[in-house]
Symmetry: C2
Subunit: 313 residues, 2 copies
Amino acid sequence: MPAIGIDLGGTKVQGVLVDAGEVIGDAKVPTPAGGVDEVVAAIGDCVDRLGGTDKVAGVGIGAPGVVDAATGTVVMAPNLPGFAEPVPLAALLADRLDGMRVAVDNDVNVSALAEHRLGAGRGSSNLLGVWVGTGVGGGLVLDGRLRRGPGGAAGEIGHVGVTSGGRRCGCGQDGHLEAYAGRAMMEQEARRRAAAGTPTLLVELAGGKRMKSSIFAKALEAGDGVAVELLDEAVAALGMALASATALVDLELIVVGGGLAEKLGAGFVGRIEQAVRSRLLVPSSPLRVVPASLGDLTGALGAALLVEEPAAA
Amino acid sequence: MPAIGIDLGGTKVQGVLVDAGEVIGDAKVPTPAGGVDEVVAAIGDCVDRLGGTDKVAGVGIGAPGVVDAATGTVVMAPNLPGFAEPVPLAALLADRLDGMRVAVDNDVNVSALAEHRLGAGRGSSNLLGVWVGTGVGGGLVLDGRLRRGPGGAAGEIGHVGVTSGGRRCGCGQDGHLEAYAGRAMMEQEARRRAAAGTPTLLVELAGGKRMKSSIFAKALEAGDGVAVELLDEAVAALGMALASATALVDLELIVVGGGLAEKLGAGFVGRIEQAVRSRLLVPSSPLRVVPASLGDLTGALGAALLVEEPAAA
């Protein structure tokens, strides 16, 4: 029976209708800025555009921020207006959809689930999905099951430490992976270096606007010194953090996706694999590092998979 | 039905007879130096001293080094003569014990299992056992099950990175936790500092012999500068690595044991807890860090628990 998956983002609500792992319909609506009721209405609207709930097994939602999957509550999602406090999203949406079964999980977790079931992670039961974009997010699949953890906080590879006393992370702590490999923190560092007297194409191209992933790709291609250094540091930090993750939980596969990784392409993922492998405790480990393969609809696809995934650990 | 647990160490084979979580008998024999056959015979001897296998459900063994629990094979145990190459220990011992069911796992894994079921970790389903001794070992229990991983290599908290480019670890990599918090590496560093011109009670007390945990305790008590610094660095490294582990898998509890931790006492564990909590991504996390509680028989007790633990993930 088909399922509906919703990727609830800060700018858009992306929905898909999925049957037997195939996308058979998709729809999107803008994410409204007016708070919880409007967001629930927009998701309901998106479900209607996909044909409604008459012939589907359930609706899954991937939401940003901290999610308690067991109760379907978005605990805190700073990027969604009205979601600074806990929102019982599954219950609210079930009301709107006449009691339909609704499951909610973190957007990165559902993306890891999608890559595991349908993408680059097929056939691997122990994998980490790493999303290198504005920040660095992660979703962990252990023994074929999404690892949520007792507080729903598992998978936070971006906040694994790589250098005690190192660069400050967005979360306030020092030396986390995200401080070196997240686009936003790399932008901050590039602007700091430019202000300190090292000119860089990164700042020239971005001007006062956001330093998009495509700008990093361009500056690298042009051999810009700061861009090259920042990328080297990002790759080294990814190598350290992903080797740590492998030492701790023993992984077979690491799937790398996200905006920055997509723009930098397979070469970037290859460099990460080299960096991780050079740091493995068991050098003969069969661990592989590969690019994510499902593209833009990953989150929505993974959300649809939630319908069949047990919510509690 | 009772079970027999064997802690196979480099110097002794410690056995216990366990019924309903209680030790009802114990026996030990020296670990022979003559290779695999002698070790199997010594374990058999220990089992005989515990009353044999007539009225027990099975025999569990905790072995040092790398163990493939699914097949009961000790893949590599550098501290056991004859165990540099893979040894099918479960099969060999089952032969000696007339087909008795035999399970084998890593000694640190079984210790974590023991603390989870019978010790400081009772009631927690998501915990990491950390053994701070000559090295730093770890055993991970997730959702109430021992996490082994596809290569049997999970739980290696000692080889989680804390400082890229930092102190060299015994494994050859740089900046691992064990390089800062393992007794052997701390000894190396103390001798390095003494040789470089900073005298320390650590070297005075140890002389040419092993710098035992009790020597660290004495030097600390006397306020020795190098000992204080090395301990501060060990605590900071433990804080970083354990916060990383918590970010990745979401833990409720960390149980700290091992020779050095025992000698330094509850104050050491309290300092580790402070260091971890100051680095948590979710400061309201209910994570606790507590001392291990089962003492010398932990490994043997945990080995007995293997008899009822499913071997495959």
